[in-house]
Symmetry: C2
Subunit: 627 residues, 2 copies
């Protein structure tokens, strides 16, 4: 079955089988809307940037065409590769004339830029030809190769990738020759090529690609990359992957590495790989994951912090880390069939990932903190979404995930069909056509109608989210409710997920969130923006056990939403110059400002986190103090 | 009077007049001990590193002597300059044969390395001769010059600096020619030369040095330095100094800049400079200063954060920032006579600064966080003090402050003598010899005995620390108790500062410390190290309003100390895999682990923060949760 998947992942084993992008249509809801905006606004903006940012001009230089000098970072090529992948999945999802032409043109340029021996990297070819493969610790040469391979796989599966695939294979063969056959033990400082090589293997059945991926993973943690001042944890080179117990260093690197590890497991059956990845997943989810699903607690090194180091204000939560996390969790879900991975995909999709892009699809966050403070007035970098970045890894990465989103909604197995994410639309698999009607995430009712069925009994498995309170639907050990029937065309099944807003408290070990609460409703994490408050946001504190009232709204700049109103008190503003620390003998006060109770009642109003920063640049916080 | 000061600062105006280093002997206590260890262990280690780290070999290369290539950072010369300054103050404090010889040898080498036109920087002379003054935004050329000037002033005031001063003046004249006379408006990305130029002016009376310092300060915030990716705040180039309202960017840069601003005010009387610096001081102390006096909340950019952004675990609190803060506060104290600056010097000296060095004087912290977490086992960089650093700005900076510490203890004015810091020893000023006997900071009694007096009435002013509870000693508006008498030789006066331990709460706006308390006793901030606890440190929570019991101890590795025992509860350890966030409707719980009261009583034991990390590499926290 997997050989026919038109989507990012087509493993040859696994508990669940992925579907093609065009087997899942999303007809509405936030993600249907986003797919439309991605096509109409984001992708055109990205294509424009391929010229302006230097990505395409650099390759022209490498091809001996055009004039000028290399622009941007050494990994500038990867922007084009991710943009190509986005366009290819878009072509797969909803064919358009312009896309195959762009892919063909780009492939032809890449073919001209590529060295006869298969090597391809415009930066090293133009700027540092003597240092090719000589500074792998930060060169991103294999990282860029990986994104090329993924773009080629996407184009091939979209039916317009012959020339791009040829370019990719020549480069892959060049890597195989040097790093597998000739015995060079080098590894790239930035993992990404591993998961890409496995997918290229899945497409081409060229086994050396898989073998190289496995070797690169096995070579990690042996000190084979030089330490360029960031320390060995930065690039996950401190311990072999089977020994490392916790996610460390640069978050995107760790997460792409994990995707590759599960990919190699899926093709080789090496259980030790799945086991170590699951071990780190459990640790990561319990101790190093933001409530939004975001990963990376530190700006310094764009890195994971230590266990329970989860600051709201200075968390990094890079948009690319959210994407890499979804990639990894998708592989774990396919490998094991366990809904906890789909739960985390949902949390990440609706929060850490969805916040990356403005409501109009034209501005992006690189960093997704859980709090924005007041003092930005002296800062030229206002902490708001921007149209593009000098280091533009995130925008095209966001676009490729949105274009391929249909792939992540449902799976099949020998028993039937599993639905992991609830979006209105149509799912086709194994002769079944299933319509999904829902106003999720605003409403908890999801109605499934079997439009076509091959006959005979099969099981419809529906994920019961971990946030869902115990109710009529009892999930199995994997977190799914199972409906096995001789389905008839036209037959329906409806679930009602309880979207009562939830007041959420942090683990006592998360020092940065002590004494605070957050609000969730269904899959959505909420935040408080200054613009919605009747007092200074930093002077509001929630009443413990507050009732939470959901209110539907259509907000200018934001669009449709459900706000949540909570009972709060309004504290007197802190006078300037008040001492920051004060001695006490009181047995009730917990701040230098004294007891916070007995203040004027107020309402605090929360908006879904993913919709923040679409109005002004004011204060925001996900975690708000309790009185 | 100021012309005769043998010490770092000799302003020609000001409310208080500084004393010479050798007018204040420190006979014991933590700082007397540290001065001895600094001389016996730290300085010899530093001198050894001048060869090993490349600082001296680089200058040999620039002088056309020796072989090899440039080693280290572009500001490597500054390590030698700070080391020279430490040695010069040491010579001033307690003359020794080896010191003048090292200074003379170094000065001769510098003279040979210096270009005929006066320019001197081994990195730019050897590595980038074409880029001299072409990349001021990060070249550190004037920064290094500043440290040279300070070393030369120190050597001159110690009576062994003729040749070094000649080198310094040639370089200073070269800077004056280019950046004052020839109209180059360049400023250094790293302020430091400003305060140094003013002191060189004070020593030499060459007014162009002062004029250049004033011009460099006036040129800040006009966008004259290129932004090399760190943003204009990083180097305080976002706003003119008279407009900037809050400390921003790289902390050490901001703080050295402030020292220079107050220095220029002291020599020119430009009140707008004092005013803007005081305005930022008030903001800084209220919103951006750690309880230890540490500055810099972010690793990223070694920078100040936003207001109330004061994380305990990821605070930076660079040792050099503590030193720069003491420099700035000393200038404000001399300018205004206000004890609040001496209060902050005390807080910084005993905590943020004193923690920088191990009890044996051979290992140093670059970063001084207020919490060390558990997960260091996978990290090769263990977060412990180290013998030296690739970027070794801190160790010789620490040494020069300790060698010159006598300068910061007391001042004179027209009325008499002011004592700002309480250390056992002898103070000489204006014909008065004053003995100070005290076991401070372990004991609060300080006895002053007038050994010599010129006759007639004069005032003894004694700082009443802000932490001191209201008592018999009523401070004046500047925070000093004043004893005006016709002092007789042998006459004594005793103060008793109340060292009852204090439970301290953070301002409610400091999100990262919510729900926590810290302990102070006298000038000492305390911390909890795992080694002193009867349970896991992360499972202890203090009882609000706890009694605090002081216990004298002599701890192996630490030496003499006073521990503090507090009433706590022992919480059940968090089981691995426990969810990090959980919904609740409870009106009492504030963590996902439920209500924390009703657990087994326990004792939590605190040790002075400056003495931490002298035993093992275990957990530490200054701020501990309240139940």
């Amino acid at each position: 079955m997997s050989g026919f998947v038109r989507g990012p992942l087509a493993p040859s084993t696994g508990a669940q089988w992925p579907l093609s992008i065009d087997d899942v249509e999303i007809h509405g809801g936030p993600f249907g809307r986003w797919q439309r905006i991605n096509r109409e606004h984001s992708i055109p903006l990205g294509l424009e940037q391929m010229e302006r940012s230097g990505a395409v001009p650099n390759l022209r230089l490498a091809a001996g065409e055009g004039e000028g000098t290399f622009q941007g970072y050494r990994f500038q090529d990867s922007d084009l590769y991710k943009q190509l992948e986005a366009v290819a999945w878009e072509q797969c999802r909803l064919p358009g004339d312009a896309y195959p032409a762009f892919i063909a043109e780009s492939a032809a340029l890449l073919a001209r830029a590529q060295r006869p021996d298969g090597y391809l990297n415009s930066h090293y070819q133009m700027v540092k030809p003597d240092l090719i493969y000589q500074e792998l610790e930060y060169s991103h040469e294999m990282y860029c190769a990986g994104h090329l391979f993924q773009a080629a796989v996407a184009a091939a599966r979209a039916g317009c990738g012959e020339e791009l695939l040829a370019v990719a294979r020549r480069f892959a063969d060049h890597l195989v020759q040097r790093f597998l056959r000739d015995g060079d033990d080098g590894i790239d400082g930035h993992p990404e090529v591993e998961t890409a090589l496995v997918e290229l293997y899945r497409l081409t059945r060229e086994r050396s690609y898989l073998e190289l991926a496995a070797k690169l993973i096995d070579n990690r943690g042996k000190g084979l990359i030089a330490d360029k001042g960031m320390g060995p944890l930065y690039a996950q080179d401190h311990l072999p992957v089977r020994e490392a117990g916790t996610a460390v260093g640069h978050a995107v690197r760790q997460l792409y590495l994990e995707a590759g590890i599960v990919d190699v497991y899926l093709e080789t059956g090496d259980e030790s790989l799945l086991e170590c990845s699951v071990r780190r997943w459990e640790d990561l989810v319990a101790t190093k994951t933001a409530i939004t699903g975001g990963h990376g607690s530190r700006h310094d090194g764009e890195a994971f912090g230590e266990r329970y180091e989860l600051p709201p204000d200075r968390s990094y939560n890079e948009s690319c880390a959210a994407i890499a996390s979804i990639h990894w969790n998708w592989r774990l879900l396919l490998a094991t069939g366990h809904g906890r991975y789909a739960d985390l995909i949902e949390r990440t999709l609706y929060n850490a990932f969805a916040a990356s892009t403005s409501a109009d699809g034209t501005r992006f966050f690189y960093v997704n903190p859980l709090q924005r403070r007041a003092d930005l007035f002296e800062d030229a970098y206002l902490g708001r979404r921007r149209e593009w970045f000098a280091c533009a890894c995130c925008p095209p990465n966001i676009m490729r995930l949105i274009s391929s989103l249909g792939h992540y909604v449902a799976t099949a197995d020998a028993e039937g069909l599993s639905v992991h994410q609830y979006m209105p639309g149509t799912i086709r698999a194994g002769g079944v056509t299933l319509d999904v009607e829902t106003d999720y995430p605003w409403d908890g009712r999801v109605r499934f109608t079997v439009r076509e069925t091959p006959g005979g009994a099969w099981t419809l498995k529906l994920r019961i989210p971990a946030w869902s309170p115990p109710g009529a639907l009892t999930p199995d050990d994997n977190g799914y409710t199972r409906i096995r029937r001789d389905w008839e065309p036209g037959e329906t099944f409806t679930i009602d997920l309880d979207l009562t807003p939830r007041l959420v408290l942090p683990h006592r070990r998360i020092d940065a969130l002590r004494g605070c609460a957050a609000i969730e409703r269904g899959p959505l994490v909420y935040c408080f923006e200054q613009i919605d408050q009747e007092a200074g946001l930093d002077d509001l504190a929630l009443v413990p056990g507050t009732r939470l009232r959901a209110v539907e709204r259509d907000l200018p700049g934001v669009g449709r939403t459900v706000l949540i109103e909570a009972e709060a008190v309004r504290l007197p503003p802190a006078p300037p110059g008040e001492p920051p620390y004060a001695a006490t003998t009181a047995t009730t006060a917990t701040t230098a400002s004294g007891d916070l109770r007995d203040h004027a009642p107020a309402t605090a109003t929360a908006v879904p986190y993913y919709q923040w920063d679409n109005r002004d640049g004011g204060l925001m916080r996900v975690w708000i103090p309790l009185v």
